[in-house]
Amino acid sequence: MDTIYRLMEAVLPYEFMQYNFMKNALIAVLIITPLFGILGTMIVNNKMAFFSDALGHSAFTGMAIGILLGISDTNLSMIVFAVVFALLLNRIKLKNSVSTDTIISVFSSLSTATGLVILSRGGNFSKYSALLVGDILSISPKEILFLLLIFVVTLLFWGLCFNKLHAMSLNSSLAKSKGVPIVLLDNIFVVLIALIVMLSIKWVGILIINALLILPAAAARNIAADMREYHLFSVIIAVFSGIAGLILSYYLSLATGPTIVMIAAVIFFLTFLIRTFVNE
């Protein structure tokens, strides 16, 4: 880690780089944002924005269960609960296609409420309020390692299975006729989203994690003509918003997550304008 720190100091001789927490935060941002940029493309394609939002909210219950069971590392209970939650929602989605959004909403509200009820026992909720907005400056090298691991796993999965995921998102019956194992892949995909959301939720925050997943891809969609541009723009927009948001929040003493989201939102509106302009 020290070598990386020294390297970062040499490459980025700025004032904010002298603190180790800022170095950690920058590394974390450089891992999380491209990850979100990549995953977001498929979430937006599949119209799963609501689904990933519900997944984020399940963090409340996951954490609450961890505390009830007396687990010291609530990350574990959050991840387990989120994975179960994601698979359950996916099953419901596959079973009845009629009112998926209502069902997702019910489960999302339920898990939020359950989590809040348990966490606020004895009027102690303020202890957990950091979970709402997240705090990327508190990330530790060990947690960065986890992020790096999931980053590599995601890249591998994307490289091997993206075509099949894309085929499914266009028409699942057609994908099925070409021999794509649609249920399996769909499940792997939502488990992956669950893992990534849970591993980064403490740094990004429950309230805005979904924005970070959706905005870069939605912005890229406005200006991309094919899948390569879509991914490229999405990753660039995500990384740019992440770094700009981190630095800006440092100098202006703002919460980092929301600053990143605001920048991404501004970019979204810019690309939206570009699209409208080009179309006319």
């Binding site: 493309t41 394609n45 994307w158 490289g159 091997l160 993206f162 075509n163 099949k164 894309h166 085929a167 998102s169 266009l170 028409n171 699942s172 019956s173 057609l174 994908a175 099925k176 006729s177 070409k178 890229a220 969609r221 406005n222 991309a224 003509a225 094919d226 899948m227 390569r228 541009e229 879509y230 991914h231 699209r275």
Partner: protein, 301 residues
């Protein structure tokens, strides 16, 4: 060769096939009078029809797909039941029926996408062996909205190759996609966005995806709207071409009775189960057809 027993009949097919195997190379060079073939297939009963075809068309006619007692239940509701179908390669079978009669459900059952009762067998009559049925599918519509950044290449490559389309465009795959699109005169569309295609263009692209590689059974779910008359003509023309040049059976779910009358070899009218089947004229003039479509028939045509 007027065998009555099934076994002797099968033997004769096998004998004939031996002979055909010897002559296969020279046979393929023959010019084919397709119209003649169709007349004879239509007129002939199932097994003999298959033999006739071997002598004339590119479809060998020796593959058959037999669906026995297909039924689908969702909860306690029966969507379709007791559907028996026997389909040969080189034939266009058209399924018609009112909305909600179970046409799409039947297609989904054939694709194996939903659980169903009954069996689907794909038999090679040359050696009487069962093999895996390769199904091609042309869906009614795609989950593509305005602005979806998916080019025709992206879509096509996603279905036929593992080279990740988000990373780079593979020259090899690109060439292959272009060739396949050319089969249906759609090669110029390769760099267009899928969401910008017209209904007819999209259907040609989907048809070439379904035929890469050429399946044993092609299932086509015809779009209800969005394709103009010229597009429809071209679509049926393409289907005719496929039928004439490749060894495959086709099932089309159709909403356009006029085209059905002109192009179908066999028509199946379903309403939960098969209520009438036979040659197009026969089905379209039956009393069952009248009951289902009533006086709206005139509005259809």
């Amino acid at each position: 060769m007027s065998e009555k027993k099934d076994s002797t009949n099968r033997k004769s097919i096998l004998d004939q096939d031996d002979m055909l195997a010897n002559n296969r190379m020279s046979e393929k060079k023959h010019m084919i009078d397709k119209k003649e073939v169709y007349k004879r297939i239509k007129a002939a009963p199932c097994a003999t029809g298959a033999k006739m075809q071997t002598q004339h068309g590119a479809a060998c006619g020796l593959h058959c797909i037999r669906m026995k007692d297909i039924g689908v239940k969702v909860g306690k509701t029966t969507i379709i039941e007791h559907i028996n179908l026997h389909i040969h390669c080189g034939k266009l079978t058209v399924i018609i029926g009112r909305n909600g009669a179970g046409k799409s459900t039947l297609i989904k059952a054939m694709l194996g996408e939903i659980k169903h009762e009954g069996t689907i067998e794909f038999k090679d009559m040359r050696n009487n062996s069962l093999s895996d049925l390769k199904i091609g599918y042309v869906p009614q519509h795609l989950n593509v909205e305005k602005n979806t950044p998916t080019s025709v290449y992206d879509m096509f490559a996603s279905y036929i190759s593992n080279v990740p389309v988000f990373l780079w465009k593979s020259k090899k795959v690109y060439k292959k996609v272009k060739e396949q699109l050319a089969m249906f005169k759609a090669e110029d569309l390769i760099d267009k966005k899928v969401c910008d295609l017209s209904g007819g263009e999209l259907q040609r692209v989907l048809l070439s995806i379904a035929c890469t590689p050429v399946p044993n059974l092609l299932l086509l779910d015809e779009p209800v709207s969005g394709i103009d008359r010229n597009g429809m003509e071209l679509f049926y023309h393409n289907i005719e071409n496929l039928k004439n040049n490749y060894d495959l059976a086709m099932i089309l779910v159709s909403h356009d009775l006029e085209f059905v009358e002109r192009y179908a070899d066999y028509v199946i009218l379903i309403d939960k189960t098969i209520i009438k089947e036979g040659a197009p004229k026969e089905v379209l003039s039956s009393k069952e057809f009248e009951e289902v479509f009533g006086s709206s028939r005139k509005a259809w045509v």
